[in-house]
């Protein structure tokens, strides 16, 4: 078998009738990469995935797999393996029959068929369930059958649509690892769809964040989290405090002024005039009013609105007129926990903030 292949998406548009669902999608997915489509429900993730498999309306633009233009090729000629969200196991066939289906369509038979089906079932640890019907399996086992059924035909690319959404929480963590192991073992270019940022973060090499059918940003999970390129990405990946306002620049740096008069001095120069400052809760500190602090920390006075003690961290909501700012303080044994109603200072560290154009 030949090594992993690349997937290239060039200016893809998809519409259902007059409803635009995907607009100008461009992506380069590297051979062997584990790539995630992340976005809220209805953002077009499934539509994009299905377009790669050849389902849905004929897309505009081009989709290339291993350099070959597959746009317009029917699904059965693409050799792209897809695992459906509902698993789509055929209820009238046994597990073995389900897994054998794709090989039979490829005219594999006899010993070879048997060997490969057994190998696939072994791979997902379901050898002893071969003669059951799908309805007699648990959700996690059905998921594995669906995986085995797809990988047994040695597809060029593996597509997974919300593979974990039908499993309960414990199983999800386990399945996450199993899918990753499987992908590494087979070294298959894999694309998977999820609306859960934790899934995308833990599993993918890189991901594309989608909103309203438009790709917002592409990159490694850490890059997207630390350097979001717009408000949507900043907000969708984790919690973010957003202050909107404008920037004024001089030779030394910039100064940010929020609509309500909060001022933050930045040492780097910001090009744009209108924009926002994004503050992650764990990058902020909280302290008693007037306590000493480093010079690059800018204090904002406020009142504690509520306190959530979560064990390893304490989450505060502090009213800094008129905003409510969330702060995560890591908690060590004996640390003082501020109480609701206390006056405090929120420390903004200018090294740990993101500025965005609007």
């Amino acid at each position: 078998m030949k090594g992993p292949v690349s997937v290239k998406i060039e200016d893809v548009h998809v519409a259902f009738g007059h409803t635009r669902v995907l607009t100008g999608v461009n992506l380069d997915i590297e051979p062997g990469e584990f790539f995630a489509f992340l976005g809220p429900s209805g953002s077009g993730k499934s539509t994009l995935l299905r377009a790669i498999a050849g389902f849905g309306p004929m897309p505009g633009g081009r989709i290339l797999i291993d350099g070959q233009n597959v746009t317009g090729l029917p699904p059965w000629k693409r050799n792209v393996g897809m695992v459906f969200q509902s698993y789509a196991l055929w209820p009238h066939m046994t597990v073995r029959k389900n897994v054998a289906f794709g090989l039979e369509e490829r005219r594999v038979d006899g010993k070879e068929l048997r060997r490969r089906v057994d190998a696939a079932l072994d791979l997902v640890g379901l050898a002893e369930f071969a003669d059951r019907r799908p309805a007699q399996l648990s959700g996690g086992q059905q998921q594995r059958v669906a995986l085995a059924r797809t990988v047994v035909v040695e597809p060029r690319v593996l597509l997974l649509d919300e593979p974990l959404s039908n499993l309960d929480a414990n199983l999800r963590v386990q399945m996450r690892r199993d899918i990753l192991d499987l992908q590494r073992k087979l070294s298959l270019t894999t694309i998977f769809v999820t609306h859960d940022q934790e899934e995308a973060n833990t599993m993918s090499d890189r991901m594309a964040v989608l909103n309203d059918g438009v790709i917002q940003q592409v990159g490694a999970p850490v890059t997207l989290y630390d350097r979001p390129s717009n408000l949507f990405v900043a907000d969708f990946l984790g919690t973010a405090n957003v202050l909107k306002g404008h920037f004024t620049s001089d030779d030394g740096g910039s100064r940010f002024m929020d609509e309500t008069g909060i001022e933050i001095t930045l040492d780097k120069k910001v090009e744009h005039e209108h924009g926002a400052v994004v503050l992650r809760p764990q990058n902020l500190t909280i302290q008693s009013p007037g306590a000493a602090h480093a010079t690059r920390i800018i204090p904002l006075s406020g009142t504690v609105q509520y306190v959530e003690f979560l064990g390893s961290i304490v989450r505060y909501a502090v009213q800094v007129e008129p905003h409510v700012i969330l702060i995560d303080e890591s908690h060590r044994q004996g640390d003082r926990v501020f109480q609701k109603g206390e006056s405090v200072e929120v420390g903004v560290d200018t090294n740990y903030l993101t500025t965005l154009a609007q």
Partner: protein, 569 residues
Amino acid sequence: MNYFARTSLGPAGVAILLGLFLLVFLVVPVAKVIFVAFQDPNTGALTLVNFADFFNTSLFRESFFNSLYVALMSVVVGSVIAMPLAYFTTRFNFNGAVLIQTLGVIPLIMPPFVGAVAMQLLFGANGSINLLLDEWFGINIPFMEGLNGVILVESIHYFPFILINLSAALNNIDRSMEESAQNLGANGFRLFRRIVFPLAMPGYVAGASLVFLKVFDDLGTPLLLNVNNMLAPQAYLRISSIGISDPMGYVISVILVLFSLFALWTSFLAMRGKEYATVQKGGGGLMKRDLRTWEKVGAYAVVIFTLLIVLSPHIGLTLLSFGTIWSFSVLPDGFTLANYQEVIGTTSDYITNTMLYAGLAALIDVVFGTAIAYLVWRTKLVGRKWLDYLATGALAIPGVVLGIGYLRTFYEVEVPFIGQPLASWWVIIVVALAVRRLPYALRACVAALQQVAVALEEAAENLGATKYRTVKRVVVPLMSGGIIAGFVTSFATAAVELSATIMLVSAESDAPLSYGIYVFMQSAAGRGPGAALGMIAVIIVGVATYLSHRVIERGKREQALDAALAGGV
């Protein structure tokens, strides 16, 4: 039910009364028929000699194979009509879908025997179509010759059973079932054969076995087409000409019941495994695509051609009822209202009797249906399932068999104060109709009951209402849409029942419409008035069906509204 409450007859008491009713008017008569079939007519000893006689008589052997052949062929022809229609609606974005749905209902509002004679005038050897074919092409096609006629009439009438079940099955197949097969390399016919066909099979089998059952048991159509060498007509003729003690009628009855039970059981088995294809979530229904222009033309041609064939009994009956003389000609010689004047002037008894019988029977059905539905689904009574099985089992008892059973069982039972045997009292017709239509009403009531959340009942009980008051004030009002639908279905089908009725009518003055149609259609001169009477029956059934449709639709709208209001809070 009020009475039950005051005498504090609990659910168990009601169950026992219902059980007794079914025992006396369903189990005992059928058991009697079976018993007599195995009884030596002279000595009364148990024997198989009657069955040996049956299979040694060439007429009976022939009838047996004819009935099997006609039932199977009706399934085949019905499938040929239904399959393209089901295919169009489920696979394509086809504007004719509404047309097809209508097609699925039209035949059912006219019982097959009513249209049978009209079909002969259209498709018979000297009928309109063959006259035209002869004139244009010099050919004559034996559409209506002997068994062909029965097959044609029955399949036109019963194909909707296949259409409805098959379409539902196809619509229930999750799209991802098909897409995953395509993803793994299957397409075209292989995809159909390996995925779509097996998944749609249960629905098809369920529909097909119901068609088999209905056709195998039908008495009216072969009688009116004068095809007597089939089982049901033989049973009727033996009993009505030779007499109630002739064992052959009973042997035939046993065979009819056996095959019907088998068909019902097949349908039941097929549907039991059915949910499995529908449990998946995601886009429902198969992939649909737009038709190309020429495909659209073809599809419409098929639909319109089918529509014409399906409507032909209605067209024929209309022509016949307004026609003067119609024989050896494409159309009647002239048109007149005389037939209607004749039937309305002289035979209005038929109409009033029909309204009375069908109305009473439907009333009994919904009362019993509601009670059985409630007992089976909402109580924990021991053996409650048996009420359901018994009531539903009536489906497998052909009208002829029930009729023979009643005659045999209730002939010696004198009705107090009337001084007449129960078997010849008009009320027995009502009872027979009620028993035969109970399965339909019961289904409607069960469906309605399942819409009523148990919590609503519990809330009433929690506020102090007794079981009986809860049923009366909460459950029945909420079920009313379904109960009305059940009433109308029972009424409409009872109004045109012939096979049990024909056995039980003992005086012309007690006869309902269906019997009248049968009597008129016997003679060439009576066909016009018979057709007029048939039209009246069709109108009664059509109006009733339309009304029930309206009631159901209104119920649905109200539910949607309720849901919207609840969601808005």
